[in-house]
Amino acid sequence: MKRIVPAPFPCTCSATAHAIRACLIALLCAALFPSALFAQKPLIGLVGIETRSPRAANIASMVENHLANIIASAGPFSQLNQAQLKRELAAFGCMDEACMLRFARTAKLGLVIRGVVEDEGDVARLDLFCYATGDVYAGKLVYRYRARIPITRPDITARELSYLGEEHTGAFIAGVLRAYRRPVSLSVREGGVRLDEASSGTGSFMVYRFIGPPSEEGAPREYAQLGELELDHGSVVKSANAGALRDGDFILVNYVERADYLDEFYRGRKRELVLQWVSPLDTLYVALFAVPAGVTMPVLAPLGYYAYGDYRGLGLWAVNALPWLYLEADGFLNRPSAMRDRNESVSRTRNARYDFALYMALSGGIPLFVDAFAHRYLADASEYAGSQQVIGNSWTAGFLAAVSPGGGHFYRGSRLWGYLYFHLDNFLVYSIMKEFARAERYDAAQDRYVRASGERGRGHTLLYALGAVKLIEIVHAVLTPDDIGARGVEAEPLAFQPVLYRDARRRPVLGAGVSLRY
């Protein structure tokens, strides 16, 4: 048997045929996209989004349009004609990842984006991938974004679905801008160093150099750090190792600022779309409603969860509120005044529980009432379902954090922090009330009550602790953003691990790292 080995890459038939096909593709690309090939900006190609159902196809089509628009407006990339690119890939039967990367390399694309939309019944799972070519990346996946878009809400409109798709797409492009670093070569002329491309970069950049001879196209290359270089609007200001630099050395330019801008833009736009204008006066209305909310919480909060179908919230409410509701009920049912009517001595605990019951009715119930309703409003806002009136006000968040345990965080949509502050504040308040409460012994001989004396030092300490916690809570609540981001974004699989190794100067480095497997 004849054997052709080794083929540099998986090929359909032979190396010759592969070379001919590569030349054809290159010529075709040069003919189709001449301006793009010689542009300074990295070329980016959107090769398509896979789908297998009509519903997923609609979402994919929408996401593709958003990708094209956002890439065009984001700035740092030149974009190939999407429709032509897809046509060519389909014509060459180039649908697999490896084939697309070969195509991208041949067509001199700097970045390639592909995606998958899978219909999972209640949700559409969106996966977006971005690969980078060139000696530094050699086809590596630089960023992957995964989200689950809810598609079964009965009243969701095409406009809302489009907004959701755009938000996810914007987050993906921001992630790409954050993860991708473009190599820019240096030229050394008469001792001076300059960048080969116009750049507006400012700051310190590490200079790298490839080790060894150029390898075959598409193969990874090893490179080493040479030292730092300072840029001011693209001009080299200072180089730590200028004498040792030579042509071909390069720096890696990032787009973090653009990514931040993109994130901020979409966050701001969403707030404008889903939240109504707020003023401190709205907080006043909330304040007027606070006490009735606290008093009616034991009844209205579970009904609110139930009415909105927030069963997770209902379960959390049941588990977290019950111990405190028991104390509240016990405080009111066995109140000291009733015991005094019966001429019974009133213990310290009885007095403390009654005070705590009053506190729960006036203040302690507010946060759970807020959670029952604000959570739904935030969920609607996250899905662009109408414009919300009550949420999104920092004054209200600060007010609720000040007057209730964890209310500000529930208002912002952070249940974890909300329940944490709820339990912590309640525990401190109950402890303080118990420290300050005094037992009352009924003196039958004189028909009067004698109040016991006691030390209040620990009570004052707890009071200071509560003050500190409240201060932190208020600041935290005001600074916490509203949870109106698109739900269902899945984190990359992360692993935390300790790190111990020797650096280039053989110094031991100890630390911890988070690893991410693509």
């Binding site: 048997m1 004849k2 054997r3 052709i4 080995v5 080794p6 083929a7 540099p8 890459f9 998986p10 090929c11 359909t12 038939c13 032979s14 090769v47 398509g48 989004i49 789908t51 297998r52 196809a57 994919a60 089509s61 593709e64 429709a83 897809k86 389909a90 060459f92 039967g93 180039c94 649908m95 697999d96 990842e97 490896a98 084939c99 990367l101 998958v116 939309v117 999972e120 019944g121 209640d122 050699a138 086809g139 590596k140 996946l141 001879p213 390898s215 075959e216 598409g218 193969a219 990874p220 090893e222 490179y223 139930y306 179908g309 069963y311 379960g315 588990v319 699989p493 690893s515 497997r517």
Partner: protein, 508 residues
């Protein structure tokens, strides 16, 4: 098959058609009487590969399922990063080259033409309500020998067949290290090897049983630059002791299988089509069942199950008897303890009823709603499997079960359809709590009793969370190799005679 969307659906459709055509062509080739040429050209892939074949299926639905299964298995290989699925255009070419092979030998010859490391063959069939997929994984190189297996997956839901096949393939790859061919030498001790980011390789040091320590200094998608201490020859193979992280992949596939199953069988999508099953369930628990139980104690709990859409003609007699016994005990125990001299009602105390008995009687009366809830949940635990439906909130079944056990003694176990532990925890907790209230006047004993109650309650909640559900329709979909024994208790009416079944089941 991957369908690329366009402004229209043409591209996707053409792609499906193309893959379908390829599949059909493969099937035709598999039965074609051609001879295989001995002087075929073999193409060497730099890092091996795997070919996935589907045998010809009868019927349009099975053909569509074949395509879905092919895609799912290719994705599984892609995700694990060990064997790259052979590209479609390569497969087309190889099938053309191998068209002269003898019948029955075409698959193996095609894989050999592609110089693949392994190949898989899927055969799909259908029994009355069950889809069956037979999978064979055949390694062609000794280093992948651990992959070799033949297995069968079954499901009543066609959507689950591709996912189960993908899970089987993912499981099979869990113990395979990276086998990277040495492609080029780039310097002294520096080589380009055929494994990269796709295989999970990142810069760093790795152990190799064949070449000692290997330092990866640069990675690409499919290739890496490696420093190898010992000299190696081009085309030699380096084994790197790095195994695919299959756990999250299997977890994701399990989740999707579970979601498909719940979507199909959950009561909200079956008996209560169009209604909010969660709301009905809560209303049934909190309003309908207590109301029905006040009107007709114990039997009212069975009647309340009809609010969830069950039209069972007769109740489960075991539950009725157990619930009746519990109710009788709760009402009559204080009477027995006082020799029928004490007042029947807990709020009336007389000289024949000590305070401790009154405490216990108060508790027993106050806990009657728990008994009604338990009977109701027990009837539901019978009704769900009988109608082949699943309870609401089943996607969060573990959390839901622990919540149920928190509020109702043994409630989480009933929720998961496990009646025996449910009744066990109910009677145990009620007995301990009754004793604790009886001993309220004796703080030391009461403390021990309440501590024991807390321990049992914690065990109830924890086991409700950890235990698996007993719904056969669900377990059949999610558990493939389940060999754990299960104990079940069932009561039913047969020819107007009550029949009680106590069964120990061991799948084999």
């Amino acid at each position: 098959m991957k369908g690329f969307t366009n402004q229209s659906r043409n591209t996707r459709s053409s792609r499906i058609a193309r893959i379908g055509g390829l599949l059909l062509w493969t099937c035709v080739m598999l039965i074609g009487p051609r001879a295989f040429a001995e002087d075929a050209v073999v193409v060497s892939l730099p890092s091996g590969g795997v070919v996935v074949f589907a045998m010809q299926a009868q019927g349009e639905s099975l053909k569509a399922l074949s395509i879905e299964s092919l895609i799912a298995m290719r994705r599984s290989f892609e995700d694990c990063g060990r064997l790259r699925p052979v590209e479609e255009n390569q497969l087309t070419w190889a099938l053309e080259r191998a068209r002269t092979a003898k019948p029955g030998d075409l698959i193996r010859k095609t894989a050999q033409v592609l110089n693949a490391d392994a190949y898989c063959v899927i055969g799909l069939s259908q029994e009355i309500h069950t889809y069956i997929a037979d999978l064979s994984i055949v390694p062609l190189k000794p280093e992948y020998e651990t992959l070799r297996r033949t297995l069968r997956v079954k499901s009543r839901l066609p959507h689950n067949i591709p996912l189960k096949l993908a899970k089987a393939v993912t499981d099979a790859q869990s113990g395979i290290p990276v086998h990277a061919p040495v492609l080029r030498k780039t310097g002294e001790g520096s080589y380009v090897i055929g494994a990269g980011q796709w295989h999970g390789i990142t810069p760093g040091r790795y152990r190799s049983p064949t070449h000692g320590e290997i330092t990866i200094t640069g990675t690409g998608r499919y290739e890496s630059v490696a420093r190898i201490g010992d000299p190696v020859e081009i085309a030699a193979e380096v084994e790197i002791r790095l195994f695919p992280d299959t756990e999250p992949l299997v977890h994701d596939l399990d989740r999707r299988i579970s979601e498909n199953t719940i979507r199909r069988y959950e009561i909200g999508n079956t008996l209560l089509r169009g209604d909010d099953a969660g709301k009905r369930y809560i209303e049934g628990m909190c309003i309908i069942n207590p109301g029905g139980s006040v009107c007709a104690p114990i039997y009212g709990s069975f009647l309340a199950t009809q609010y969830l859409g069950f039209n069972t003609p007769s109740p489960d007699m075991t539950g009725m008897w157990l619930g009746g016994a519990a109710l009788f005990t709760q009402l009559m125990l204080p009477e027995f303890m006082t020799g029928f001299r004490g007042n029947f009602f807990p709020w009336n105390r007389d000289s024949d009823k000590p305070r401790s008995v009154q405490y216990m009687q108060t508790f027993l009366w106050a806990s009657l709603p728990f008994t009604f809830s338990t009977v109701y949940l027990d009837q539901l635990a019978v009704a769900f499997p009988k109608t082949e439906t699943l309870p609401p909130f089943f996607d969060n079944r573990d959390t839901m079960a622990s919540l149920m056990s928190l509020f109702v003694p043994g409630g989480g176990h009933f929720y998961k359809g496990r009646r025996l532990p449910g009744w066990g925890f109910y009677f145990t907790e009620m007995a301990i709590a009754s004793y604790a209230t009886l001993e309220l006047g004796n703080p030391a004993r009461a403390r021990y009793a309440f501590s024991l109650l807390a321990a049992v309650k914690l065990a109830d909640i924890a086991l409700a969370y950890l235990s698996r559900s007993s719904y056969r329709i669900y377990n059949m979909e999610v558990d493939r190799d389940d060999v754990r024994p299960s104990l079940s208790l069932q009561g039913r009416m047969f020819d107007r005679e009550p029949v009680y079944d106590l069964a120990l089941q061991l799948p084999f």
